[in-house]
């Protein structure tokens, strides 16, 4: 994992995070109303990535973690009983070292924390982060190793290991699965994934994320090519079928 070392997560005394942007009304990344902190830098190269501007490990704004605590406190009245802060990205666990004290600080103020991750980073810091997180949103892109590579240019072994690790340490997670026509909607692949995760005691919910191209316009200015131009949106029938498929294995399955 050469990528992890590229980010200076900890400066002298104040941990810094490379932040891409914020969304103060997050309603799709964990329960309730959430402050979503999009962190800069990702180790995956998903073909359908909606935030390609968060991929590079450079860029973003180096932000002291106290500043993020303050933002969260300002927003705390809006969190209600269920909401809180979600770290997304990018891949937040690349900056696990700086996130650990931040999560502690948020917990001290009674703020719930979610991590939206591809689960591929297995370091001591990432493990520690998972232990402290209230809920992990685990994005599994594909179960089939070959198709996972096609879709992300990376391997899925660690992601599946992370799912097992979460069960081991008792951190609940929601499985998030983007349904890309032709890339991740094969019935056999989905069934294999379901069987693999069936006994996982930490898995609380499955969220099927419909494929969309809302991030496509960001590619050209970045000098990148969007390779899924010809992939159509899911039909309602496809989404229903996928939901029914997952629902054979899991109690709580939703289409987001």
């Amino acid at each position: 994992m050469t990528e992890t070392t590229a980010i200076p997560t900890v400066s002298a005394n104040v941990p810094l995070l490379r932040v891409h942007s914020y969304e103060s009304l997050g309603t799709y990344d964990g329960p309730g109303i959430r402050l979503v902190v999009f962190l800069q830098g990702c180790n995956f190269r998903c073909l359908y990535c909606a935030n390609p501007d968060t991929i590079t490990l450079q860029g973003g704004t180096l932000t002291p973690i106290d500043e993020i605590v303050q933002k969260a406190l300002n927003e705390q009245p809006f969190f209600g009983r269920k909401g809180g802060v979600t770290f997304s990205g990018g891949e937040p666990t690349l900056q696990a070292e700086a996130l650990i004290p931040l999560v502690d600080a948020l917990h001290k103020r009674g703020i719930n924390v979610c991590i939206d991750t591809n689960g591929s980073i297995i370091t001591d810091a990432a493990r520690e982060l998972y232990r402290r997180t209230d809920l992990v949103l685990l994005d599994v892109k594909q179960f089939n190793p070959l198709r996972h590579r096609t879709l992300t240019e990376r391997d899925n072994t660690n992601t599946l290991a992370t799912a097992a690790f979460l069960a081991e340490v008792g951190t609940p997670f929601w499985l998030r699965y983007v349904l890309v026509p032709g890339y991740s909607d094969d019935v056999a692949d989905i069934e294999a994934l379901c069987r693999h995760l069936q006994g996982n005691t930490a898995l609380q919910r499955v969220e099927i994320l419909p494929y969309h191209t809302l991030g496509m316009h960001k590619y050209e200015p970045l000098g990148m090519e969007y390779k899924l131009k010809d992939v159509p949106y899911n039909t309602p029938q496809q989404l229903d079928a996928a939901r029914e498929l997952f629902a054979r294995y899991f109690a709580d399955v939703r289409v987001n």
Binding site: E23, S24, L25, T27, G32, K71, E75, R254, V255, N256
Partner: protein, 744 residues
């Protein structure tokens, strides 16, 4: 139903004095449950509503006005009984003899009425014109006789706009409940006693008040006659639930027959009426279906209220609004909820009859409201976008009473005990341009404020601009105050609201409700000057025609204190300036941050501003951040507005929030949960008001192209709701250009 026996209520102060608030506190049945008890519309209701829908379609096809009675001067007794569908109407009474026929009310201004008739293809009755030209002076004539040159210039150049000098001021809420609880005979008795007590010395104020109370008594007598046209004995108290609704409506009807005030609010009648409905339900006189039917039919009547307006009136108050504002929910000071089943029944009309802008239903939101009611309110918002929310915890804490309603859009008013003088608004953005242009109007070069030094350089210096701005604000406050004193003096003199004032205590507390527009533009402009480099581009006579901005600056609406604190300061500063001048009738000055729809017209009249806004571009409405600049998401935007202090703007801080349904969450349940949490959070931060629109932009665009498919599409604008298809194209485009929070 038997009507011989009078209803028995729990005793209290309300028996020995006129005190409806006490009656409600003693007799209310708070309801903590959910919406499952509600009934759909009855066949009778649907028949009546069908007739209304036909009339509404006719009205739309006929350029927005179905018919005008251009001969009869409207008074409480001017028109005999009118019906929609007599055999199916449970609640009766129309303003004229025909549904949606508008009446002439020339006491506000004869030229206005003449023009309004003319614009709709009719000529005003010659005789009426003669009377009001040669024999009876109007409010409008009085104001312009007294206006100074200076006021006229501030008005015509757009520094002060929307002043109620050629239309009725409105904003006074009669305690319409009094008619049902006491009957007219008792009310007359009490007013007569008040009049007897108003003895010397006969100062001008005392003479005026004596004449006013005498007028009020005449109005009460006239209401009784009006009731007799419909076979109703309004002299006695209401004796059934149906009568209670009918009596309250008759009192309101008298008000809207006599006056065409900009906003004619209803008050807080729902939980009062609930007491009568509960009584009849408990005694087996009616069932839930009938209870809902009463409210549905009452609401139909409120939806059919019309005033005759000139086309240009539409610029400031778009969409033919009447502001029949009804305040629903809230808490009593003793901690009980004021939510009753009839609170739900009012909201249910939006399902039974479909969405509509009137009555302007306003939820008095407390963190402690019963969960079932919170869920129903937010569900109704998500389904209809027709309701708004105000912070009950904040208003009760600051204003001390639990018996209040909302005047017009967002303004607190204790019912029956206080009134307010409406004051339109001053343009804070245009005022800033005076500070940058040596006190001259940026469009015409007219010197508005003397002794404002010309800026030393084209690159704007924050301290230098601020020093000038403070001087300008002081002068605008002075002129504004002078205008208001003249307007309200003349309104009392020529167009006194005798029907409404007959239902209010004899010597009420009065607020003078000033207002401001362009807050976000002024704040962002000052932020740009402070944090970026702003250079003025000037024309040949030295007036700014544009600004070049180098560098970044924080904008109001992103929960960034650097910009938000400027908006907070400006609100506080101008509010204090307004408090420095003597006010007619010793009214207490307050201020609102509310534009109605005048933000479009204000923008038109304002040159380019240092925040980069081009000349003529619409302002954001009310206290909203400027569209497109609040880019940290909805919560950050709400948090910025929540920083404005209610104490600095006691007349209300209006925020209009538009969101696409998906942004609230994936499922209907998530959306309801999240909207509750969002409103709770906003009000926990001591924010004052929130309009909630849950809509897709595409739908609005489609409605612009195919208005016939969206006759009931309702959206919230600044403090009220309108039929989207009745807005002008400029207003429709402005609504669509607003920030729709749709990031996910």
């Amino acid at each position: 139903m038997t009507m011989e026996k009078t209803m028995q209520f729990k005793p209290g102060l309300w028996e020995s004095e006129i005190n409806v608030g006490d009656f409600v506190r003693k007799n209310i049945t708070p309801y903590e449950g959910d919406a499952s008890f509600l009934s759909g519309p009855t066949e009778r209701t649907l028949k009546v509503w069908e007739k209304c829908k036909e009339a509404l379609a006719e009205e739309r096809e006929n350029g927005g006005v179905r018919a005008i009675d251009n001969h009869t001067i409207s008074t409480i007794t001017s028109h005999k009984a009118g019906y929609i569908d007599r055999e199916n109407e449970l609640i009766v009474g129309l303003q004229t003899d025909m549904l949606l026929k508008r009446a002439i009310k020339p006491f506000g201004g004869i030229k206005v009425v003449e023009k309004a008739c003319h614009e709709h293809g009719l000529e005003l009755d010659e005789h009426v014109k003669e009377i009001f030209t040669h024999y009876r002076k109007t409010h409008n004539d009085g104001v312009f006789d007294a206006y100074t040159e200076e006021i006229r210039t501030y008005r015509s150049l757009g520094f002060l706009t929307g002043l109620p000098d050629n239309y009725a001021r409105g904003r006074i809420i009669g305690d319409y409940r009094r008619l049902a609880l006491y009957g007219i005979d008792r009310l007359i008795e009490v007013k007569r006693a008040d009049l007897r007590g108003l003895t010397g010395p006969m100062t001008e104020a005392r003479v005026r008040l004596r004449e006013e109370v005498a007028e009020q008594i005449h109005a009460l007598e006239a209401m009784k006659v009006m009731g007799s046209y419909y076979g109703l004995d309004l002299g006695r108290p209401a004796a059934t639930a149906q009568e209670a609704v009918q009596w309250v409506y008759m009192a309101y009807l008298a008000a809207v027959k006599e006056q065409d005030g900009a906003a004619m609010s209803l008050g807080n009648v729902s939980s009062f009426l609930d007491i009568y409905i509960e009584y009849d339900l408990a005694h087996g006189n009616i069932d839930e279906c009938f209870a809902q039917e009463l409210i549905d039919q009452f609401v139909i009547k409120l939806r059919m209220v019309r005033h005759l307006r000139m086309d240009s009136y539409n610029e400031i108050f778009a969409g033919d609004a009447t502001w029949v504002t009804e305040s629903i929910g809230g808490r009593l000071n003793d901690g009980r909820t004021k939510v009753t089943k009839t609170s739900f029944r009012f909201l249910q009309t939006l399902y039974n009859l479909g969405p509509a802008p009137e009555p302007n239903m306003t939820i008095l939101w407390s963190l402690e409201l019963p969960e079932g009611f919170k869920r129903f309110c937010t569900q109704v918002s998500i389904d209809t976008s027709a309701i708004q929310y105000e912070n009950d915890d904040l208003m009760r804490e600051v204003r001390k009473t639990d018996d209040y309603g909302i005047a017009c859009c967002v303004s607190f008013q204790e019912i029956g005990r206080s009134i307010q003088f409406f004051g339109a608004r001053a343009n804070l953005a245009k005022a800033l341009l005076l500070a940058i242009n040596g006190g001259r109007c940026e469009n015409t070069g007219t010197v508005m404020v003397k002794d404002i030094p010309v800026l030393k350089s084209d690159e704007l210096d924050f301290d230098e601009v601020m020093e000038n701005y403070k001087k300008v604000l002081a002068q605008i406050a002075r002129v504004y105050n002078e205008a208001m004193n003249i307007i309200h003096y003349m309104h009392d003199k020529y167009y006194y609201e005798k029907a409404q004032m007959a239902l209010i205590d004899t010597d009420p507390h009065i607020n003078l409700a000033y207002g401001v527009a362009g807050l976000s533009i002024a704040a962002d402009s000052l932020s740009a000057i402070k944090y970026a480099h702003v250079k003025a581009r000037r024309n040949e006579i030295g007036l700014t025609e544009g600004f070049d901005i180098e560098g970044e600056f924080p904008c109001y609406g992103n929960d960034d204190d650097r910009a938000d604190s400027i908006a907070v300061w400006l609100t506080h500063y101008f509010s204090n300036e307004l408090k420095k001048y003597p006010v007619y009738r010793n009214a207490v000055p307050t201020m609102s941050i509310l534009t109605i729809t005048s933000n479009v017209m204000y923008g038109k009249k304002t040159g380019a501003t240092p925040d980069g806004r081009e000349r003529g571009v619409a302002f954001a409405p009310g206290a909203n951040p400027m569209h497109g600049r609040d880019n940290h998401g909805a919560i950050a935007s709400l948090s910025s507005v929540a920083k404005l202090n209610y104490e600095d703007a006691l007349d209300g801080i209006s925020n209009t929030f538009s969101i696409i349904p998906k942004s609230l969450g994936a499922t209907r349940e998530d959306r309801v949960d999240n909207l509750i949490t969002l409103i709770d959070g906003y009000f926990k931060k001591k924010a004052h008001h929130l309009n909630v629109n849950v809509l897709n932009r595409e739908m609005l665009e489609d409605a612009m192209e195919h208005p016939e498919n969206y006759p009931q599409l309702t959206i919230r604008v600044s403090g009220y709701a309108v039929n989207f298809v009745r807005l002008s194209r400029a207003h429709q485009l402005e609504v669509i250009s607003r920030s729709f929070h749709d990031h996910f």
